[in-house]
Structures are given as C-alpha cells and as structure tokens.
C-alpha cells in the first residue's frame, strides 16, 4: 500500500488512459458475433474504463488533500517543448463528478439503449476526453481535447437514430467546429506574441511585456474564451444545446447536461486565473451567467417537450454556476471570498450533475413507456410505470427526489448548493436575479411533475401504448444510485463542502467552508417557503389563458441555423470589446 501511494504520480493518468484502454477492449468485442463472449468483453472494457478510474481517484485523494499537486510534462520532455499537465484538486473534483455520472448513465444504457460495443466505446472515449480536458495545462492540447470531446459527443447525440437528432447534432457540430477554428486563431495570436503554448509560459511572457501584449493578446484571449463559452452554453451562445440535449438518448443527455458543459468551464478557469486580463473576463462571464440563469428558466417554463424543458433548465443552472464562477475569478480565487464563491460554484456543478442526471433518466424512462413526450398531454405517469412492472415505484420516487432537489427543497442537495450560492453572493445584484430564477425553477418543475399524476377534470386524456415495455433493473439501479447521491449530498453537505473547499484551496492555509452556518435557520427556511409559494403562483399564472398565450409566443420565437453563428459573433465581439475597454480605461 505504501508503495502505491509513493508511485501515485503515475496514477493521475489513469482517468485518461484507462477509458481509452477500455474503448480498445470494447472494440475487440466487435470481432465476435453477438453472444456471451462479446458481452463479457464489452462489460470488462466498460469496467476498466469507468469503474477502475473512479476507484483510483480515491487512492490519489489523500495526497491531494495533503496539499500535493501533480504536474509536469507528458513523456518527460523539456518544459518549453512538451505538453504540460496539472492534476490538482480541481481536476480531481471534476473527474469525480464526471466518472460518477458517466458510470450511472452507462449502466442505464444497458437497459434503455443504445446498446452495443460501438456506443460503449465512443462513450468511453468521451469520458477519457473529459478528464484530459481538465488536466491539460497547454493551450494546443486543450484544443485537441475539446475536439475529441466534441466529436465523440456529436456521434453520441446521433446515436438515438431520430431524424431530429441528426439535425441537432449537425447544428452543434457546425457551430462548435467553427468556434474551434476561432480558438485556433486565438492560439496563433498568443503563440506569435510569446512563442509559448503552456498557460504559464504564455502568462509569464505576457506579464513581462510592457503593454501586456496589447490588443493582440486581448483579442486572442477573447477568441479562446468565446470558443470555450460556446461549449459551456452561456448566453448568448446556448442555441445549439436544447435540441442536442433533448434529442440525444436519455443516458447521453444525462452526461451531456451533467458533465460535458461544466468541464470546459473549469478548464477555462485554469487559463483565466493566471492571465492578466482573466479577472475582467471573469466579470463579464459572471454577468452573462446571471442573465442566462433567469432568461433560460423563462424559456424552459414555456416548453412543451419534456426533455427540452430539462435541457433549458441545464442552461439555466449552468448560468448559476457561471455567475458564481465569474464572480470568483473577478475577486480572485486566492482571496477567501473568491474561494467561497468558487467552492459554491463547484458544489452546484456537482449537485446539478446528480439531480439533472436523475431527471433525464427518470423522465426518459417514462416517455419511452408512454410513447408521448408532451408536458401538456402526458399524465398518470406513475400508473403507466406501475403497468410496466414497477412494483416499487423507484422511477417515481427518484424523480420526485431530484425534482425537489432542483427546486431547492430541504434537506436535498439543491437546497444546500443554492443556499451556498446565495450566501456567497449576498448583497450583490446577482443575488436578486438568481432568486427570481429559483422562483421560475419551482414553477416549471410543478409543471413537469404533473406528468406523473392523474389528470385534472378538463384534461383531454390521451391514448397510451397498450403494453408498455418492462423497466430493466439496470435502469432502476442507475436512477436510484443518482437519487440516493442527491439525498446524501444534501445530508452530508458539510463534509463534502469541506473536502471541495480544501481541494480548491491551492495555498492550503485556512479551512474554507462555503456552506452557510445558518443553513437550516428560520430565515432560510422561510425564504425557501416564499420562493416555493411564489413559484406555485407563477405556475398558476402561466396556466391561465393569457399565460399560455405568452408562453406559446416565447416557445415559438424564431430560431435558425445562422442565428447560432450570429450570436457567436456577437458574444465574441462583446468579449473582445469589454477586455479592450477594461484594459485601456
């Protein structure tokens, strides 16, 4: 055991290399025609690629908590030539988030599909790209990781084989491939100025210049930020996300919404922390995050398709995260206030991954059984699930837990992380915006929850599938696993927050706890009650005739392919203008 701990520096590559090894093994399964052997090989590969790295993370954890950081160049090259990597607390946390959700989602796909070695292999490659993205400290390597991540996710979105999925994947591919070309232009600008590709090398070289690199450096940075922000899907760059996440298979949706949009964000924070203009960039991102949280929840409230509703919620919740994340970068992550904000942002990212994963899986289970995905038509979900052989209503209970978590009902994890966010943001304008967004969240989840309950008097009953498919045990297990994590995340939040805080705290001096000390105080509970009640009021308002007409107009606002590019150009120009304005004023 002692020996393992000493050599743990080599373990940090496990989360990247093991999934790739697993993918290679899974591809071997294709050599056998369908049968026992093929299945065994596929499952072995998946276990090596998903379970083993997850366990290995716990071997490294004590060392990271002890304050050590693994960094160096891949292959032992010279620092100016090789590719730099850095495995610190941030990388550990994002890896933990990624592998937990990916494991549950893959397990779910055993029951719900898409099945087969092709899917499993690409899923594993995506997971490897996730941990490579968060580990890298080299700009060009970041480009490669983001592209691998992107390409595997375009394929996974397509794997639901619906025509709509192909269009969603095509739009996603075109806009993010074009954005990555702008990213390359950004790399070109920074390389031409500094002759370096590692984050630290570039930052040092820029700081050594008397004008900090001037406009060229700022525009290059804006290009890089805009391309990454597109993957994160903040306003105004979110347009590709709802279709892609709604059309993907349910297991893939859970990973896309839970993990894939957050990894680039935290990878970007590595760059912004050390770049001279990073704090200004963080400020603008924070503002757009706050607006995203509010606007996206309004659009979510207007949606008809259940999975689109969930997808817009992902945009809204990523807005919460970006809001706190940007504020943390603006203040500086080494200050206590900044660290509290960053920890709260990560905590919400982790918890959102858990409850959004559960929601996508449970709602996915239901709409497959019911053969209908409209919020307005689908009713009696619990009954349909019972008819499909669920004696213990696992799906229903998991759904309710996750829905209450996202609506911030105590003691679930969403309550903790949203309170941590508002505690950290207290006294700022973002606080008000996020509270309003919480009201919208409650309203839209009341709307969504109705699909599980019997219809009201005036509801037109819709015919359902006669003999709904059985719910596979693997699906139930995956749903329950995530739902229990939601509950545990709420109950054990002080410990989790302490671990996250000390992992993110690179100076390692003071113990930071981002959980407010008065978490279950009367005032906070009262605030939750008020938010919940006003959410219910907003829901009632929306179900009136006028409310429905307004929502219809929001839902049917014009959306087009070229709009994606226009908003990308606008976002890019805005970021560049803001950075130049801040630096020269």
């Amino acid at each position: 055991m002692q020996n393992i701990l000493i050599h743990s520096a080599e373990f940090v590559f496990a989360p990247v290399l093991l999934p790739l090894l697993g993918a290679a093994i899974v591809f071997c399964a294709k050599a056998f025609s369908r049968g026992r052997i093929a299945k065994t090989i596929e499952y072995t590969g998946a276990a090596i690629g998903l379970l083993l790295p997850w366990l290995m993370l716990f071997i490294i954890l004590p060392n990271l908590l002890g304050g050590s950081v693994y960094e160096g160049t891949i292959g032992g090259w010279d620092k100016n030539l090789g590719i730099l990597y850095k495995f610190d607390g941030l990388a550990w946390l994002v890896n933990f988030l990624g592998f937990s959700v990916a494991m549950a989602a893959w397990f779910y796909s055993l029951g719900a599909g898409p099945r087969g070695p092709k899917f499993t292999a690409i899923f594993l490659i995506q997971t490897a790209a996730l941990s490579a993205t968060i580990m890298t400290a080299d700009l060009f390597n970041l480009f490669v990781c983001l592209e691998v991540l992107g390409i595997s996710s375009y394929v996974l979105v397509c794997s639901s084989e619906k025509p709509g999925a192909f269009l969603a994947s095509f739009s996603y591919l075109m806009v993010s491939a074009a954005a990555m070309i702008f990213f390359l232009v950004g790399i070109y600008g920074l390389y031409r100025l500094t002759g370096k590709l590692s984050y630290e090398g570039i930052a040092e070289a820029l700081a050594a210049m008397d004008n900090g690199g001037g406009i060229t450096a700022l525009i290059s940075l804006a290009l890089i930020i805009a391309a990454v922000a597109l993957r994160v899907a903040v306003m105004p760059l979110y347009g590709w996300l709802p279709d892609a996440h709604a059309m993907a298979p349910h297991a893939v949706s859970a990973v896309l919404s839970g993990v894939l949009i957050k990894t680039p964000l935290f990878a970007l924070s590595r760059i912004l922390i050390i770049f001279p203009a990073g704090s200004d960039a963080g400020q603008l991102m924070g503002v757009s995050g706050g607006l995203t949280a509010l606007i996206a929840v309004i659009i979510a409230l207007s949606q008809k398709d259940v999975k689109k509703l969930l997808a817009y919620h992902s945009v809204s919740q990523i807005g919460y995260i970006v809001c706190a994340w940007g504020a943390a970068l603006h203040i500086g992550v080494e200050t206590p206030a900044g660290l509290v904000l960053m920890t709260a942002a990560f905590l919400h990212a982790l918890y959102h991954a858990l409850f959004k994963g559960t929601l996508f899986l449970t709602v996915g289970t239901l709409i497959d059984r019911a053969g209908n995905r409209s919020v307005y038509e689908l009713r009696r979900g619990a009954g349909i699930l019972k008819k499909s052989g669920e004696k213990i209503p696992v799906t229903f209970i998991s759904f309710m837990l996750a829905a209450m978590a996202i609506a911030a009902i105590p003691p679930l994890n969403g309550y903790v992380s949203k309170n941590a966010l508002s505690y950290a943001l207290k006294g700022r304008w973002e606080y008000v915006v996020l509270t309003l967004a919480s009201v919208g969240t409650v309203a839209s989840f009341i709307k969504l929850s109705l699909i599980f309950f019997p219809p009201g008097k005036n509801h037109n009953a819709i015919a359902f599938l006669e003999n709904p498919q059985k719910v596979h045990p693997a699906m139930k297990a995956a749903e329950l696993f995530l739902a229990i994590l939601c509950l545990a995340g709420g109950l054990f939040s002080p410990y989790i927050s302490k671990i996250a805080g000390s992992l993110l705290n690179q100076s390692g001096t003071v113990g930071i706890n981002s959980i407010p000390p008065d978490l279950y105080s009367g005032g906070n509970l009262q605030k939750t009650l008020i938010i919940t009640l006003s959410g219910a009021a907003v829901y009632l308002l929306c179900s009136t005739k006028q409310g429905k007409a307004v929502l219809k107009r929001i839902r049917e606002r014009p959306r087009s392919f070229s709009g994606l590019f226009t908003s990308f150009a606008l976002g890019l120009a805005g970021m560049a203008a803001w950075l130049i304005y801040r630096t020269f004023n």
Binding site: I151, M174, A178
Partner: protein
Amino acid sequence: MIDRILLLILFLIGFYGIIVKKNVIKKIFGLTILNSTIVMLFVLEGSKIGSHVPILEENITPIVDPVPQALMLTAIVIGVCVTALALSIVYRLFNSTGTFDIDEIRSKLYKDEE
C-alpha cells in the same frame, strides 16, 4: 502583407459559406475552407520565424520554428474527422428528408414533431 489579406479574404469566404449558403454540403465546404485558411496561416507565419530547414545539426541556424507545422498536422487530422462526420450526418439527414436545404430540413423535421 498581401498574403495576409488573401488569407483574410479566404477566411471570410469560408464563413460566408457556412452562414449564408442554404445547402448543407456547401456549409461543410465553408467549414473546410475555414480550416484550410488557418492551416495556411500557421504554416506561412511559422515559416517566417527563422530561415533554415529544421534539422538539428551543426551550422544549421537559425532554424524555422517547427512547432506550427507540428500543430497543423494535428489540426488537419481533426479537420478531416469533422468533415467526414458532418458528411455522414448530412447523408442521414438526406435519407430522412430528401433535401439538402437547411430550412426545408428544419421545417420537415419540425412538422414531424408537431
């Protein structure tokens, strides 16, 4: 200077293709043009740093910076993958809708949904 202006024009042509052209195949052409522009930019500008072939032997200095070329090899590979994947997705879209026009594809698929 003239080479940079030409590259900029090429870049704009590619971007124009992606945004304005309705035909999805032409959109993919636009993406490929954008990609090639960046490759040319890196190689062209990289070759101006130094003057000799980058062979690490005595008396060959100053060598051309080899890093941009190395980066572009990777970028070309990625570009080819993205193009291939985009074309295969378009093939599936054509199979299910019978058209290459992005607006028609969108309206046909949405009609199915409603």
